[in-house]
Symmetry: C2
Subunit: 125 residues, 2 copies
């Protein structure tokens, strides 16, 4: 039943042995486009680090300054700041300066919900 078929995907074509050409074509069509997959995996990747997850967990309970985050996580202020920069770049958190102190908060509730989902998955496993 094996067969060599030419699969066309996003402009380029390549010869691959595939068991079920029809299924392959329909699966290929069903995939969200590359940029979408990239952005979704980006979100998950960001949440795939314990330090960042802890930071987000703290912020889900209200504004926290960098200094306090550093104390809670038990890590370098600089390290925390680097991670906050990443989170800022992805619009997951936003800063608010008050004098010398910068308070961070979640930009929206989506991340909080994703975290809750993660916790539930964990519990059910």
């Amino acid at each position: 039943m094996s067969k060599t078929t030419t699969i066309v995907r996003e402009g380029e074509s390549c010869d691959v042995t595939c068991i079920n050409p029809g299924k392959v074509r329909s699966l290929a069509r069903s995939l969200p486009k590359a940029s979408t997959v990239e952005r979704i995996s980006g979100i998950f990747q960001i949440m795939g680090d314990s330090s960042r997850l802890k930071i987000l967990h703290c912020l889900s309970q209200g504004d926290v300054c960098v200094c306090d985050l550093s104390a809670v996580l038990g890590m370098n202020v600089s390290a925390v700041s680097h991670q906050l920069r990443l989170l800022r770049a992805l619009n997951l958190v936003k800063p608010k300066r008050e004098g010398r102190i910068v308070y961070y908060s979640l930009s929206n509730q989506h991340v909080g919900e994703l975290m809750k989902m993660g916790l539930e998955h964990e519990r059910e496993n």
Copy 2:
């Protein structure tokens, strides 16, 4: 208002400058324990890669063999197999041999739901 306090976290203590010792203590208490955070971030980390996300997306539509996955994703059979091993190790997918062909499927629906969440986040953003 700044103050130097000793924060005790999981047996070890360290001196850190922190703005709000009370808040820090309560946040520290509110954090899920290390192993839990680790496992949750592990799940997200696994989904934080476009190849794996595509694989999982395919499997969310039914059983697919390694060969077809390779064709759909346009990548090496070996590379796909390596990723499947990771997913297997985390009990996210399971193999079923039929002759020479190995069909993979999702172990449970949790991952599918997480992916849906990701897609929704993406859309709302």
